[in-house]
């Protein structure tokens, strides 16, 4: 009887040919001698086929609920926006640009010192003031930004948030994030998508928000006061503008992400 119990538990594997040859032969012998186990094997075989066919049919008739499909599409769109931001050309990359500007400025300082051009440096667009600042023993933290890549996302009401970069410097903190969603109104004022950043000592002052706009998605940079290294930060957006058939409205979140500087 004990042998019958053990063999009956192995019948599903036996019928699928998953057992070692020797053990399989032993079961085969037992089935030829034990009518109860043979009957059980036939029943397990039949129910196996019935369940495979029945479950497969049920799965084939499935329809993904539209609200779930929209949620999934929004998530993927947010990831695409994040990836597009990561793969933008080097010259559009903020840290690379800062590095290039600083390098050019240093070169100009050297040239200016050697050639007596100091007074003319400041007149050179963009790089000039930096070079002048460095020349006069200015702020060495100008290029002192550390880039910390993040992959934090939150989805709420069909609108997804992905925070992809945190850049910490002595003078400011930059956070790059994307918002995506079918209903998202991408034409509103930049400050409509402004986040709140909380550190251990409270709210960190927001200075500017710049927005890159595409249909259904936004690529955003928010510039805050500097934060100390290792600080736990809570990033959140409480409301975003959405397009409604009746006109514009605001959808309430919050969309949240937490990370360390």
């Amino acid at each position: 009887m004990q042998q019958c119990d053990r063999i009956q538990q192995d019948l599903p594997s036996y019928l699928k040919g998953e057992l070692p040859l020797e053990y399989r032969a032993g079961i085969q012998r037992h089935l030829s001698e034990c009518p109860a186990c043979a009957e059980e094997a036939a029943a397990v075989n039949e129910i196996g086929h019935k369940f495979h066919a029945g479950l497969s049919d049920w799965v084939d008739q499935g329809v993904c609920p539209p609200e779930l499909m929209a949620r999934i599409e929004d998530s993927i769109r947010a990831i695409s926006a994040e990836a597009a931001h990561r793969h933008r050309p080097w010259y559009q990359s903020w840290p690379a640009m800062a590095g290039a500007v600083a390098a050019a400025a240093v070169l100009l300082v050297v040239m200016g010192g050697q050639l007596g051009m100091r007074d003319e440096l400041a007149a050179i667009p963009f790089i000039g003031p930096v070079a002048t600042h460095l020349f006069s023993g200015g702020d060495p933290n100008l290029t002192g930004f550390g880039l910390i890549p993040l992959k934090v996302g939150d989805s709420h009401g069909g609108i997804a948030l992905a925070v992809s970069e945190l850049e910490v410097g002595k003078d400011q903190t930059r956070i790059h994030y994307s918002l995506a969603g079918r209903d998202l109104d991408t034409e509103a004022d930049a400050m409509s998508y402004a986040p709140v950043l909380q550190g251990s000592r409270g709210s960190i002052t927001l200075h500017t928000v710049t927005v890159g706009r595409k249909s259904g998605e936004l690529s955003i940079d928010a510039y805050f006061d500097p934060v100390p290294t290792g600080e736990a930060l809570a990033f959140s957006i409480s409301q975003v503008p959405v397009k409604m058939p009746s006109g514009s409205a605001r959808r309430t979140g919050p969309w949240k992400a937490t990370f360390h500087s």
């Binding site: 594997s13 699928k16 495979h52 049920w58 609920p65």
Partner: protein, 170 residues
Amino acid sequence: MTSEERFFAYYRPEAGRLYRTAWAILGNEADAGDALQEATIRAYRAFEQLKGGAQAFPFWMRRILVNTCTQILRKRMRVIPVERPEDLSEEQTTPEADIPLGSEVWEAVRTLDERFRAVVVLRFLNDMSLEEIATALDIPLGTVKSRLHTALKTLRSQLQSGDGEKRGAV
């Protein structure tokens, strides 16, 4: 065609089947939706590694989904302290309105307790070997065998009774 457009061209025809696969494994629609979203994100991030294009996509995507679902099950099962073989049916049945039309088999399977339902679905829907199920759910092979054996006995008696009773007992 962008990578995102190509992904959705492959994904959309499969979405209904994927959703129900997750539902069958996890036993409810809310968890199925979350699992499908998570699996889809994983698949999209790895999409460039897919070899075989549209033909290979359904199997590849389903494997990612089943892995995601079994990870969720493993976490859930860790909090079930004692296994009682006699406790086969769910404590609470889902409201009648949620029952999909059509499949007598699914209606029988969905009444099983999660530990038993998961083994039945992974075996008969996803065609996994008992060893693969043991690995995926992080439980001993003997436990998989006994769960499947017990579940099949219950399901047989349920289907044979044909009286519309939704709960079975061994």
